[in-house]
């Protein structure tokens, strides 16, 4: 019997070996190969999707700059520079400010610009108040004439989560950093083969006795496999798979390769929506340093965070971070990575909570604009995964001024005019602003609406609204162009035209433009007609010049091919604010068209510039024509419908035009100094009646913005071309006004058309009016209620 049972048992065992184990082995081997293929594919291919980063423009700092005017300290904060005591600036990313002594010492970050690398130097700024008097190297006292404060990160392009990392080689990381990581996470990294059996059994025993999965016994390799392939879920099945993959990785790849992947992969915290991955990003984020500049204590801090980055953040929980850091330092000492002396120094390092700038979607409308432009040239897979760096023209300080100006203006308007209040977000009063440099074409600020979270509709580029009187300069330009071309009619700023009710017959239709409140001023100069935005006078001028010339001028200025009906001259078309900005920029830039642009350079992850911007221009208008219009638009601000600019305290040379549509649904102000142009629009998206003029609704935002935005720039005046002359003339005779002429007005003339004889009224002792717009019986008074 016993023999029989034994025989059966042996038979069963034999059958098991014969029939069960081979298939099991086969299944296991297949599974092993499958995992191996996954591991190899992951290690061989692109291991991470590196998001693209969008940067602002850099800031050139030079003696004469005012720290407050350029928002210097706010920029330092956004760039994660942190302040230390005077005399303590020792590493990149630190600065000290001794207000009493008037000294600011700044250790610049290293930065890879598109066409050069800057390694980060120390600069001492010698100040008088807030102004930089001089700059020098504090060690050698070598004068420094200028330096660049690096661009700010304003956004990223990514799919899914924003995992920001900078890939580095193991050799780029200080050995002490590696030691700290090993001490914190895997003492026996170089001894095991992917799985630390001792540690695993210990962890399993703890889990078993506690009744649930509590402790991880994972090696670095296992952690890497988990991050690459697996979920964070803790289960036995996942642990087995993880262990097997770790073993496979160790068989296929060297310890250094595994370690290199690990230091680039690990999650180390959060900055807003941006996840911080890899030791390089962590080093810059927490300590504003490159890894090579970290102290032992700082390295231990980062290493200690790996197990729980948010709970052990030195920024938010410095005490917990310090305790963990000290544990890591103790391990490093025990493992012989550091000496006792180094340990003593490291544990004595203080850890302070520090504010870190976490906003990473500055200028959202501008970022959308940039992304749209990029998407026309690069596929999404490249933009979100290949670590491009996109450098733009945006100035974050100027952008914030613009956002504030728009927000403040809308609040003021709604407070002053409660009828403008709306309950639903989508119905609320809206406004937008674009600001650019006419000479360089750089878009410096773009605000597409009052609240991006409520509406991503970028009114600067996407909205088409009637421009109203901001379109009027086109007619005057066409008229002056005819004169400069030697045409039979002579139109100059001081040419007279009739401002009286007028009907324009065309085909079998007619059009009768009305002045504001039906007020007409009779015989006026073209200068005054534009200053006071007189519809009738402008229409009459347009009729004289001809619609074809006006349409040709409009096309030159970028408004496209407009229909041939008279109402276009008063803005009876639809345009976007950026089109208006582009047209006015030509006038501001002495007739040169420099296309507005947002992207300066695109750089790949290897530092190669794959796209740049070439500075080109086209002479669309002659400098003379442009200056004549600059002159006219200056009078609008100095005397006309835009005079509130002056009463609000903006004193720089400036030119501009108000615009209100006939139905009072759109309010515009487009204006410029010689170096900055800004267009503001206000209205309802649903085209409800606003009931306010451009001077009332948009001019205040323009003025408040420009006062702040130009504060850092020297005041410069418009430059008259050599072939024009600026003359005061007798308005009655057109002759040159002598010092004793009873009245005079200012005008600009081509040299060949300038008056040469002095007016006959120039008698000694006669009264002289300084203000060329003082009325005579033939000239109207300035209009109190502006007609746009």
């Amino acid at each position: 019997m016993f023999k029989r049972i034994l025989k059966i048992a042996l038979l069963v065992i034999g059958a098991t070996f014969l029939f069960a184990i081979p298939p099991t082995l086969y299944i296991f081997i297949s599974y092993y190969h499958q995992l191996e293929a996954e591991v190899v594919a992951r290690f061989s291919g692109q291991r991470w999707n590196i998001p693209s980063r969008i940067y602002s423009d850099s800031l050139l700092v030079y003696p004469g700059s005012s720290l407050s005017d350029v928002g210097f300290f706010q920029r330092l904060a956004r760039l994660n520079y942190h302040r230390v005591d005077a005399g303590q600036v020792a590493t990149r990313g630190e600065y000290s400010y001794d207000k009493a002594r008037g000294q600011l010492v700044l250790f610049l970050h290293s930065f890879a610009y598109p066409y050069r690398n800057e390694s980060g130097e120390i600069v001492q700024l010698n100040l008088k108040g807030e102004s930089i008097v001089s700059m020098e190297d504090p060690a050698t006292h070598r004068p420094i004439y200028s330096f660049e404060l690096e661009p700010e990160l304003i956004s990223g392009i990514f799919q899914g989560d924003w995992q920001q990392r900078r890939l580095v080689r193991l050799s780029q990381i200080p050995p002490a950093m590696i030691d700290a990581i090993l001490a914190a996470e895997d003492h026996r990294f170089y001894e095991h083969h992917g799985i630390d059996i001792v540690r695993t059994i210990k962890a399993a025993w703890i889990d078993f006795t506690s009744g649930h999965t509590r402790q991880g016994g994972s090696t670095l390799t296992q952690q890497l496999m988990k991050n690459f392939f697996l979920t964070p879920q803790r289960s036995y099945k996942r642990k087995i798979k993880e262990a097997l993959m770790a073993y496979i990785a160790e068989q296929r790849y060297s310890k250094d390769e595994i370690l290199e992947n690990y230091i680039n992969d690990i999650y180390l915290g959060q900055r807003g929506q941006e996840g911080i991955y890899g030791v390089w990003e962590a080093s810059e984020f927490y300590f504003s340093k490159e890894p090579r500049d970290l102290t032992i204590g700082e390295m231990a801090t980062i290493a200690g965070m790996i197990s729980s980055p948010n709970r052990l953040s030195p920024l938010k929980h410095p005490e917990a971070a310090r305790q963990r850091r000290d544990e890591v330092l103790a391990s490093m000492l025990q493992d012989g990575y550091i000496s006792k002396a180094a340990y003593d120094v490291a544990v004595a390092e203080l850890m302070h909570p520090r504010e870190v700038y976490t906003e990473n979607n500055d200028a959202p409308y501008f970022v959308d604009y940039v992304k749209k432009e990029l998407s026309e040239r690069y596929p999404p897979s490249v933009l979100s995964a290949e670590g491009l760096r996109i450098f733009t023209t945006l100035d974050v300080h100027t952008e914030k001024l613009a956002e504030h100006a728009i927000e403040h203006n809308l609040s003021e308007l709604e407070a002053k005019h409660p009828k403008l209040l709306r309950r639903e977000e989508k119905d609320k009063l809206e406004s937008c602003l674009i600001s650019l440099e006419p000479q360089s074409g750089k878009i410096r600020a773009m605000v597409g609406g009052r609240d991006y979270q409520q509406s991503q509709f970028n009114r600067v580029v996407q909205s088409k609204r009637q421009p109203g009187s901001v379109f009027k300069p086109v007619t005057y330009l066409a008229a002056f162009q005819e004169t400069l071309d030697g045409g039979p009619q002579k139109f100059l700023p001081t040419t007279y035209i009739e401002d009286a009710p007028f009907t324009w017959e065309y085909g079998d239709m007619s059009w009768t433009p009305n002045n504001y409140k039906d007020r007409y001023f009779g015989h006026v100069t073209l200068e005054m007609a534009l200053e006071e935005s007189l519809n009738s006078a402008t229409a009459r001028l347009a009729n004289d010049v001809g619609l074809d010339r006006i349409r040709a001028m409009a096309a030159k200025l970028g408004f496209g091919d407009l229909p041939a009906y008279p109402s276009i001259i008063l803005g009876g078309i639809e345009v976007s604010p950026i089109q208006v900005a582009q047209a006015y920029a030509i006038i501001a830039n002495d007739g040169l068209q420099v296309h507005p642009y947002a992207i300066t350079a695109v750089v790949d992850e290897n530092g190669k510039v794959i796209e740049g911007h070439e500075f080109t221009a086209e002479q669309v208008l002659s400098p003379e024509l442009a200056y004549m219009m600059q002159f006219m638009l200056e009078q609008v601000i100095n005397h006309g419908t835009g005079a509130a600019v002056r009463t609000m305290g903006f004193t720089r040379p400036a030119a501009g035009k108000t615009g209100t549509t006939n139905d009072e649904k759109d309010a515009w102000f487009a204006g410029f100094t010689p170096d900055l142009l800004t267009v503001v629009w206000t209205g309802f998206d649903q085209k409800e009646v606003l009931g306010l003029t451009g001077a009332q609704a948009s001019l205040p935002a323009w003025t408040n913005f420009m006062k702040a935005a130009t504060a850092s720039r020297p005041p410069i005046d418009f430059t008259i071309p050599p072939s024009l002359v600026d003359e005061r003339i007798d308005p009655l005779t057109g002759d040159k006004a002598g010092p004793n002429c009873p009245m005079s007005i200012e005008g600009v003339f081509p040299v060949a058309l300038a008056p040469t004889t002095v007016c006959p009224e120039n008698k000694a002792g006669g009264a002289v009016t300084e203000d060329g717009h003082a009325a005579t019986s033939d000239l109207p008074d300035a209009i109190v209620d502006p007609n746009d």
Partner: protein
């Protein structure tokens, strides 16, 4: 016989080659103490500082020493158009250094000179370091802008035109009223052979430099050069004349006008009064676009009246 004929051929070839090399290098050397030779060259490629500056390139911050003396007629020389137009005469700094050391060659194909009197020619101001202008900068932004211009000037000298253009864009962004930057932009685009763009920027420079006649003349002189390179000799001649009307000593304009004397118009001596149908000074040029084949010259009047 074969070795002998081979030797004779080789000797002949070597002799011709060495003769060609010595002729070429001698054509491009600036005489000691003389002006930049490049002003005599037909092709702008051999003109800018990188190619043909004298061996003592001025750079020190304390102020550059300008080349002393004026050239006498005997020092005048020009590379032949074919040599100047060859690829080897491009903006290579190494080639520039070797060319600068060779003796001058005799000119060829120069049209009859215009007698412009005994006015001493001025050195090209845009080749000189901007130290004095920096010291006299009216405001910090202008100073910062001019420093970048100086950097761009050196980049142009070194043949790095794209870098110079980028820097000049930056310079203009810092101080848009710095019209000097446009002069260098024009020069850089001439060197890139984008004459249309060069003329755009040089025109802008000329319009903005009314208060600095020397530099305005410089801008106009380079306009002349750009027109010349673009195959518009009449416009070029007019631009040179405008430059000379302001600064008779402008060397670029003097030599350019001399070179193009054959294309001068007989009736463009005085500034005509404006009449109906006549273009007003300052109107946009109505001639063919740069780069188009030269055609019947349009009736343009000279721009500015002489300043002295």
């Amino acid at each position: 016989m074969r070795p002998l004929s081979t030797a004779v051929l080789a000797f002949t070839f070597a002799a011709l080659a060495s003769l060609s090399i010595s002729t070429r290098t001698s054509a491009l050397q600036a005489p000691a103490g003389g002006p930049n030779k490049e002003v005599f060259a037909f092709n702008e490629e051999s003109i800018p500082g990188a190619d043909l500056t004298p061996t003592a390139t001025p750079t020190p911050a304390a102020g550059a020493a300008s080349s002393p003396g004026a050239p006498g007629p005997s020092n005048a020389a020009a590379a032949s158009p074919s040599a100047a137009g060859s690829p080897a005469s491009g903006g290579s700094p190494v080639a520039a250094a070797s060319r600068a050391e060779s003796p001058a060659a005799e000119p060829t194909d120069i049209p009859p000179a215009i007698d412009i009197g005994s006015i001493a020619p001025t050195l090209r101001v845009s080749d000189q370091p901007l130290d004095r202008m920096l010291a006299a900068a009216p405001n910090p932004a202008r100073g910062a802008s001019l420093r970048i211009c100086e950097q761009a000037r050196q980049e142009i000298d070194a043949g790095h035109y794209d870098e110079a253009i980028r820097d000049l864009g930056r310079s203009i962004s810092i101080d848009p009223s710095n019209s000097y930057a446009y002069v260098y932009l024009g020069r850089a685009y001439i060197l890139k052979k984008d004459y249309k763009q060069a003329l755009t920027f040089l025109g802008r420079a000329a319009a903005g430099l009314g208060a600095d006649p020397v530099w305005r003349a410089e801008a106009l002189a380079f306009e002349g050069l750009a027109y010349e390179q673009a195959g518009q000799p009449t416009d070029a001649f007019n631009a040179y004349q405008q430059a000379l009307a302001i600064t008779p000593g402008n060397l670029t304009a003097r030599v350019g006008a001399t070179r193009l004397a054959a294309y001068s118009q007989p009736s463009n001596a005085a500034t005509p009064a404006a009449e109906d149908g006549a273009a007003i000074p300052g109107a946009p040029p109505s001639g063919p676009a740069p780069g188009a084949p030269a055609s019947e010259p349009p009736p343009t009047a000279p721009d500015a009246s002489p300043s002295d």
